[in-house]
């Protein structure tokens, strides 16, 4: 497995980004070491899972599309650490990080990518439709923006039931140009629902720079125009995402209505794992590797006394866990063809069950 630049300790890329980051880290005199170490572990697990999936795709073990969130792990980890297990999330096509950070099991996720019967969806969903209702993960979605009304509806049901659980809704900057964004935010504000909207702004909508196709000042302004307060954050700074989210979650849970987190980040890989992303200059990508949220977190922990060996061990554990998930996935049975007819609907009198 090729090591990503994040795993090359001792070779800091000196550029504008790294200089700012080094200062931000140095300014942090006090950190909650175990909490930050938790982020490092979560992000390492997401990275290891996706690198393993990427390799498995190259090896021909995965058939469908895989959208990697490499570079965006800070948002998933920083947000989800503030949610309870019973809280809900909805996700989009780039959902591995959100799902793992919410507490899903890596083995069942990998098995789903491998289209096995032991996968979260028994092989019916794949990467784009992983769900784990046990941990409140209500599903990744193949339709851009579609998770927004679903999140709003889950929150609406919580409010109706007098339940204090909240919903975090992840979507990209591209989704803000679809109708459900406007409708969903308006709805959440009108009914004062417990939703935290999380816009992961990686600058791209597939192969297009989002700002080239987006009028006006962007996501935060749109949210605020609907009365939903927006908090911007550097999505690659997991400590900042965590702190800001803690505050927003407290407000949402306290009945303060919806909040909007605008997290800027960058996807270090192509739109799908198979996309070489030649539409952006190599220098830009190289520069952004210097801002890798995992590396930033590692540097911060090192600054606060964690040894390289300890940090390497976290990474090694994550890689081993992902490798085990791959091995388990490859050994797992394929779904029985009869599964194709299950969970369609109950009300169906057709003798074959499939209702030809």
């Amino acid at each position: 497995m090729p090591a990503s630049p994040a795993d090359r300790p001792g070779q800091p890329r000196v550029n504008a980004a790294t200089a700012t980051i080094a200062k931000a880290n140095a300014d942090r005199a006090n950190i909650d070491r175990s909490r930050v170490l938790g982020h490092y572990r979560t992000m390492a697990r997401i990275r290891a899972f996706e690198e393993a999936a990427d390799q498995a795709l190259k090896d021909g073990h995965i058939k469908g599309a895989v959208h990697l969130s490499i570079g965006q792990e800070g948002v998933a980890s920083g947000v989800c650490v503030n949610l309870d297990r019973g809280d809900f999330i909805t996700s989009n096509h780039r959902g591995h990080g959100h799902t793992l950070a919410k507490g899903a099991d890596m083995t069942a996720m990998m098995a789903e990518l491998f289209a096995r019967a032991t996968g979260y969806c028994q092989g019916k969903g794949g990467s784009m439709h992983i769900a784990d209702f046990q941990v409140g993960m209500l599903g990744a979605n193949g339709v851009v923006g579609a998770g927004i009304p679903i999140a709003v509806g889950a929150a609406h049901a919580m409010k109706l039931a007098g339940d204090r659980r909240i919903v975090a809704c992840f979507f990209g900057d591209g989704a803000i140009n679809r109708g459900p964004f406007l409708e969903g935010l308006n709805w959440a504000k009108v009914f004062d629902l417990p939703v935290l909207f999380v816009c992961e702004d990686n600058g791209f909508a597939a192969t297009t720079r989002t700002r080239a196709v987006t009028a006006g000042p962007g996501p935060g302004a749109r949210a605020e125009s609907l009365g939903v307060p927006c908090t911007p954050v550097d999505g690659n700074d997991v400590v900042a995402v965590d702190a800001v989210t803690a505050d927003l979650v407290a407000r949402v849970r306290g009945g303060g209505g919806p909040q909007f987190l605008h997290a800027t980040t960058y996807r270090l890989r192509g739109h799908t794992a198979a996309d070489a992303a030649t539409y952006r200059p190599a220098a830009e990508v190289e520069e952004r590797w210097g801002d890798d949220p995992i590396r930033r977190c590692r540097d911060l922990l090192a600054l606060h006394g964690l040894s390289a060996a300890e940090l390497d061990q976290v990474r090694a554990d994550a890689v081993a866990e992902a490798a085990a998930a791959v091995a388990d996935g490859l050994a797992a049975p394929h779904p029985d063809p009869s599964y194709a007819w299950t969970d369609v609907q109950d009300v169906d009198m057709a003798p074959a069950g499939g209702g030809r």
Binding site: G139, E183, G184, V347, D348
Partner: protein, 322 residues
């Protein structure tokens, strides 16, 4: 037995189900004021604005929110005003509601009911007159219901609300004032989904139909010089009562499908093909369909009339088949 209009039968059914099950709630535009046709009149007084929720004009989110709410355990009844407007929420209905249970390997269910009034009504023109039931019957995961009588609007709506699958529930706007006996009974009176109704027995020809066209078929059967017609009201288009239809056509040897929707690509094609596949050797005449021409429904009554299926047309088709 109580005499109720089709409209009040639906309203009574919803109210009873909301009393029975605190998880049931309704959402849509103008529900607090009773809904566009009065189907929700008075309900906000009993259940309050949280359970009879007035929503923004956001069909995609009305439907999408219902999906999310259903996934976490509530039982939403969605009002779309006119079936035509439900087209603004097709992703939420077709890609989300109908797919969630399957895609997620059975981890979640989407027990919602979408009320989509259909049909021609008072010169409503092309965007307020459509009968789009075939679109939804085509989608795996959806149940499609189209009641023709007050009793069925009561009993089928209750069954739809109790159903754990997403149900597209299509009331015909022209039927709102129709009066009939309704066996009002909070626990009984349910009409099971998927079962047709033998409206009238006959020996020469089976007419298979649903919704508003049931009355038209019955009017045709009463005209002079028509053969002996058996009329079947399907009541549910998916799943549809194949057994009842095939049994009837096996006896009469002739099948005419009548629907208000455009004939091309309509659900009549599904029935006709099935009858042809299953009963080819026993048919005394080719299966026929009678549906609207493939033109949008016009505003001027004289133009609108060209889209309407009349009793005279049905009788004429029946006579020519025998």
């Amino acid at each position: 037995m109580t005499e109720l209009t089709y409209l009040d039968a639906g309203r009574t059914a919803l109210a009873e189900e909301m009393r029975r099950d605190g998880r049931v709630w309704a959402l849509g535009e103008d529900l607090g004021r009773g809904g566009v046709f009065g189907q929700y009149r008075g309900l906000v007084d009993e259940f309050g604005p949280a359970r009879i929720a007035d929503t923004p004009i956001s069909e995609a989110t009305i439907m999408g929110a219902a999906v999310g709410a259903a996934l976490v355990g509530s039982r939403p009844v969605v009002e779309m005003r006119f079936s035509d407007f439900a087209l603004c929420a097709v992703d939420e209905l077709v890609n989300q509601a109908a797919k969630a249970r399957y895609m997620f390997g059975g981890q979640g269910r989407v027990p919602l009911v979408v009320r989509q009034p259909i049909g021609m009504w008072r010169s409503s023109a092309a965007q307020h007159s459509q009968s789009l039931e075939a679109w939804y019957a085509h989608i795996p995961g959806l149940v499609v219901v189209a009641p023709a009588t007050p009793a069925d609007n009561y009993g089928l709506l209750k069954s739809a609300i109790r159903c754990d699958d997403p149900v597209v529930y299509m009331e015909h706007k022209d039927l709102w004032p129709a009066v009939g006996h309704v066996p009002v009974d909070a626990e009984g009176g349910l009409v099971p989904l998927g079962h047709g109704r033998l409206v009238q027995a006959g020996s020469d020809l089976t007419i298979v139909t649903w919704s508003r066209m049931v009355d038209v078929a019955m009017a045709a059967a009463a005209l002079p010089d028509v053969p002996s017609i058996e009329v079947i009201d399907l009541r549910t288009l998916w799943p549809w009562d194949r057994a009842m239809v095939l049994d009837s056509v096996a006896r009469t040897g002739r099948c005419l499908v009548v629907h208000e929707a455009v004939q091309a690509g309509g659900f009549g094609g599904e029935i006709a093909a099935t009858v042809g596949e299953e009963l080819f050797g026993r048919l005394k005449a080719p299966v026929r369909r009678l549906g609207a021409p493939r033109i949008p429904v016009a505003y001027a009554p004289v133009l609108e009339e060209t889209s309407r299926i009349t009793a005279a047309q049905v009788a004429d088709a029946a006579r020519r088949m025998v």
